[in-house]
Subunit: 325 residues, 2 copies
């Protein structure tokens, strides 16, 4: 049926988006270790495809996360493209110092809105993580390197249930007050839906409007750099990204091939696949600067590296072919 | 980033939708044959979950489609719930007569907007298929049974590329003129994107407005019964459904578990999974009358029947748990 109650407007979309491919980090992290040389090949394939932001490595304990060992070697082995921002995830000050020595262009730090998740993930309270981030920002600042805080469980967690959007925004503001210059809200466990995306954007808009009214706006760099990091656990990642896009969010973390879920469970859902988002944006006329056919080739490389098919449909079927100019 | 160019409105949604589960037909059709008893179990599980419309069988050649053999036995063996509309797909007059004898509540007929696809699928031109549908409508009418035309390749085909929305609508109107009372636009090969959904809804609105202006509106039953049949080949099915919902489309074909793709290819993408749509609608406060937990149980039954995991994330992870009332 077509409901006559509905006003018939196609949404207005932003003209372009920024995509950060996190496949080499969030994608490969749960996999069997891939060689440094192959990780470099993958990163360079992503650069070749046109990606300008890539989460390339994590400076974490190789004992805890064997797949991320050799971060320094990966960065040293890359032929760096000066137009690309190479990012490293760092969990602590030591990791930040290593990453900065290796010459990364950006740091990502994670903190969870869920106290239980944070405790399980990094064995710290949320407040302790905030303090760690302060220290990281300080050393990064001294090198002129920006820090993006990835707020995991921004849409809820299996432990505490729904996340209250104003409280998520309040955590982000506390991080901004500590010097974080970009904020990425992450749907770590697939709890986001378009409704929850709208709820968070509502809370962001209210918060930003309040700050502007109080003359605090210009100090808030993060207001200009809000992104989403979406997982496809429940099949909602693309719908969530498009809902966010319709509300003006224009930065997205994605992973080539949709890597990042459990390698063993069907339907486990990794990150939103870069090629799925780009194919959809291409069809809607939203520029990403990324070539979808090169992404399909990179996804095939990923399959070689991890030794099994990736979950993305676009990787296997290619983008839709309209046969038009 | 949050683009200041974007007006910040959350879309208005219809209060409720109608879902037709096509799993027992479109879902099981490409699979190894499942017994009549098990197909009945599946249909009854879907009824138990609250589905009021189910594409239960196809009256097609058992030689051509072994998985659909025994349609009459399935219908005869069901404990029919009078509140449920049991549908049969029929390819020709003979199939329609068998289905009507078996007491179905609705017939679906398929015709492709793509001449090449139609030729390959049913070895007829589109015009020949229109004539066949005329004959089917005539016998169905004499039994008071409605006929829904499923227009495949409504968003394009691999053969001819994009489908021109006004031409798709013109085909639908020709079918309506032949007595079809409901129209379901199908994305057979995963060519739909939210942009293409909006394009088709635009064309429908223009067409309906023109008909109304000319006083032809009241004769057009199908204007009140437009649905979408979406496949997840390229990961866009849920996003497409939600775009359509935002434009007032409130009837959807889905398949339990996301069945319906190739059983052999990863990421092949069957139908939009019923549980994925229902979980998302539940979270947005849009009523479907279907219980998502019962769907998850039915998806587990599907996995038993087909002997492998279904592609749906909700089937494996359950719906999001907000812990709220």
């Amino acid at each position: 049926m077509i409901s006559s109650l509905i006003s018939s407007h196609r949404p207005t979309l932003p003209p372009e988006v920024t995509i950060r491919d996190v496949g080499p980090r969030d994608g490969l992290q749960p996999e069997e270790p891939v060689s440094v040389a192959d990780r470099i090949r993958l990163i360079e394939a992503l650069v070749e495809a046109g990606l300008k932001r890539i989460e390339a490595v994590a400076f974490v304990s190789p004992t805890a996360v064997p797949a991320m060992a050799g971060a320094g070697e990966v960065l040293a082995g890359l032929t760096r493209d000066p137009s690309v921002r190479y990012t490293a995830l760092v969990p602590n000050l030591r990791g930040a110092e290593l990453a900065l020595s290796a010459g990364v262009d950006e740091l990502t730090v994670t903190i969870s809105f869920s106290p239980t998740y944070n405790q399980r993930n990094v064995k710290m309270t949320v407040e302790e993580s905030e303090t760690v981030i302060s220290g990281i920002v300080e050393v990064a600042d001294s090198c002129g390197v920006p820090v993006d805080a990835v707020v995991s469980c921004s849409f809820g967690s299996p432990y505490e249930g729904n996340a209250d959007p104003p409280e998520v925004v309040a955590l982000a503001q506390r991080l901004a007050d500590r010097g974080v210059t970009a904020m990425t809200f992450a749907d770590t466990t697939g709890m986001a839906t378009p409704r929850r995306i709208h709820d968070l954007v509502d809370a962001l808009e209210t918060h930003f409007a309040d700050r502007s009214r109080n003359g605090q706006g210009p100090a808030d760099a993060w207001m200009q750099d809000v992104g989403l990091h979406l997982h496809d656990t429940r099949g909602t990642a693309l719908a969530n990204a498009l809902a966010a896009l319709e509300r003006g969010i224009t930065r997205f973390d994605t992973a080539i091939g949709g890597l990042g879920g459990s390698p063993f469970a069907h339907g486990a859902g990794g990150n939103l696949a870069t090629e799925t988002l780009v194919a959809t944006l291409d069809d809607m006329g939203v520029r990403s600067g990324v070539d979808v056919h090169a992404l399909v080739a990179a996804a095939a490389l990923v399959e070689d590296l991890v030794g099994r098919p990736v979950p993305s449909g676009v990787a296997h079927h290619g983008p839709r072919q309209g046969h038009q100019a």
